[in-house]
């Protein structure tokens, strides 16, 4: 009945111990998105082998949900084919995290976009 208060347990887990943090120096694809409204910035690096995401890392400047969605999307994408990874939506990420506060759904749920940018970057480098 009452509206959810604060972040879900899952968001807090990912926030406190984010997975796949860092930089891939020789990345095959790189995506960076930012939200001009509140200023969050996310970047995702991918390493691709046989059309699959073999390695993935991120760095994020932003709030709890910005960090948690980045961590979650990298988990979700790892091991997927590029086509599969392209189908991951912002909503999927939020759902996997057991939801986000409504206010945060649009502004700091950009991780899927960063992932898609990285894949597009990879594809354009392949000249596809």
């Amino acid at each position: 009945m009452a509206e959810q208060v604060g972040y879900s347990q899952k968001v807090m887990e990912h926030f406190m111990n984010p997975h796949n943090v860092g930089v891939i120096e020789d990345a095959d694809g790189y995506g960076k998105v930012g939200n001009p409204v509140c200023g969050d910035i996310m970047e995702i690096f991918i390493k691709v082998k046989d059309d699959r995401i073999e390695d993935i890392k991120f760095r994020t400047f932003g709030c709890g949900s910005a960090i948690a969605t980045s961590s979650m999307v990298t988990d979700m994408a790892r091991g997927k084919t590029l086509d599969e990874a392209m189908t991951i939506t912002r909503n999927d990420v939020a759902t996997e995290l057991d939801g986000l506060p409504p206010r945060k759904m649009h502004c700091s749920n950009l991780a899927a976009d960063a992932l898609h940018e990285a894949i597009k970057d990879y594809r354009s480098r392949q000249g596809a």
Partner: protein, 383 residues
């Protein structure tokens, strides 16, 4: 793990002495203060006694110059809207500093819809009101000029007597929001030249849901809320007896304890500031000297404040932040922008406001937690 609470500017526990004094007015000493039966007279006396105590704290010339409201937000609304509308013959202009609380800014913006001009007075990089600019902006048509006594986000204390001098030379009334300053530093409305002063009950150690507005005798006001005509017609509604008695007692205690307690907190504050500033790319916001004794505020480059708040909480420490990400509108703090920070810089703010439960012994724990927090968040930042 014992928690360390450092957000007293947002909400404070009620002083146990206040509770003792005010609780009977919730249970036994209940009656309509406008009625002449016994319980009503008791209630009325209690209210007038509380009014006197609040008047004493700020050296008001007349107890009747204090009206009780539902809180600082409402006091600010009356001071801005009520003064402007009642003194419309002065002119359709109002002015306020760029670092006022949003409960001053938003009623001022609302008046713009009714044709009022709303002028903003800039502050310098430390948050001090620019007196020359003030002198240029305020005119005889400015019915009310609003300047915060000390800002809640950056702690800077304004030179109110000088500001009052200019406002009275140039314009009409000076309203001062003393929500965070009262009970921390000595306020004297007569010495300071203040026409209207906002006070919060909770910020004095009293309950929430109660506040007061000092109105210098002779200043004309109109209400924002209309009804039964309580509080000289300026704040209708059955009196919040528990809140009023509590705020009165809190004002009395604040007056008696202020000197000692403020000195104690300033000691903790100074140590905290000194130690936090040893963290890489950590900066103080607000004035290094002219600041509230219980207030320490910072920014850390390249990280964001909501994350700071969440991480500090994991270490058992409650702090505030002015980050856009925690605001309802997701906009950067107008206060941090007003002191000249860029959006990215305004993001990484952390505010600690001290109170009775805080001790010098807590400082190392807070500093260690902050250091760890900054390290963690910097490890994942792309900036």
């Amino acid at each position: 793990m014992e928690r360390i609470y450092l957000d007293h500017a947002a909400a404070m526990p009620v002083d146990p002495r206040v509770l003792d004094a005010a609780l009977p007015y919730l249970t036994e000493k209940v009656g309509n203060p406008s009625s002449l039966y016994n319980e009503g007279l008791t209630a009325k006396s209690a209210i007038e006694e509380a009014r006197g105590r609040v008047a004493d704290l700020i050296n008001a010339e007349d107890t009747q110059s204090i009206i009780f409201t539902s809180g600082a937000t409402e006091s600010n609304n009356i001071a801005v809207r009520g003064t402007a509308l009642r003194n419309i013959r002065t002119g359709k202009k109002i002015a306020a500093s760029t670092i006022e609380h949003i409960s001053v800014i938003n009623p001022a913006k609302d008046l713009q819809k009714s044709g009022f001009a709303f002028d903003r007075i800039p502050v310098d990089a430390m948050g001090v009101v620019d007196l020359e600019a003030l002198n240029g902006i305020v005119t005889p048509e400015t019915a009310v000029t609003s300047v915060i006594y000390a800002n809640n986000e950056i702690g800077t204390v304004e030179p109110i007597p000088e500001i009052a001098g200019i406002v009275h030379d140039r314009g009409r009334y000076l309203h001062v929001d003393a929500t965070d300053a009262a009970g921390r530093i000595p306020i004297d409305v007569q010495r300071d030249g203040i026409d209207l002063l906002t006070l919060s009950g909770n910020q004095l150690g009293g309950p929430e849901g109660i506040g007061a507005l000092y109105i210098r005798p002779g200043v004309r006001e109109q209400p924002v809320i209309f009804g039964g005509g309580q509080e000289r017609g300026l704040r209708s509604g059955t009196e919040n007896l528990f809140g009023i008695v509590g705020m009165g007692e809190a004002a009395r205690i604040a007056g008696a304890d202020m000197q000692g307690e403020s000195r104690r907190l300033a000691g903790i504050r100074d140590r905290l500031i000194e130690r936090i500033l040893t963290i890489d790319e950590a900066y103080l916001t607000g004035h290094p000297v002219k600041r509230l004794p219980h207030h320490a505020s910072f920014r850390f480059s390249r990280i964001e404040g909501e994350s700071i708040q969440l991480a500090m909480d994991m270490y058992g420490i409650a702090v505030a932040t002015g980050s856009a990400c925690t605001s309802r509108t997701l906009e950067a703090s107008h206060v941090l922008l007003a002191i000249g920070l860029r959006h990215e810089e305004a993001h990484g703010s952390m505010i600690a406001t001290l109170g009775r439960s805080n001790t010098m012994e807590q400082v190392p724990m807070v500093v260690d937690a902050a250091r760890e927090t900054v390290k963690r968040l910097r490890a994942i930042t792309p900036l």
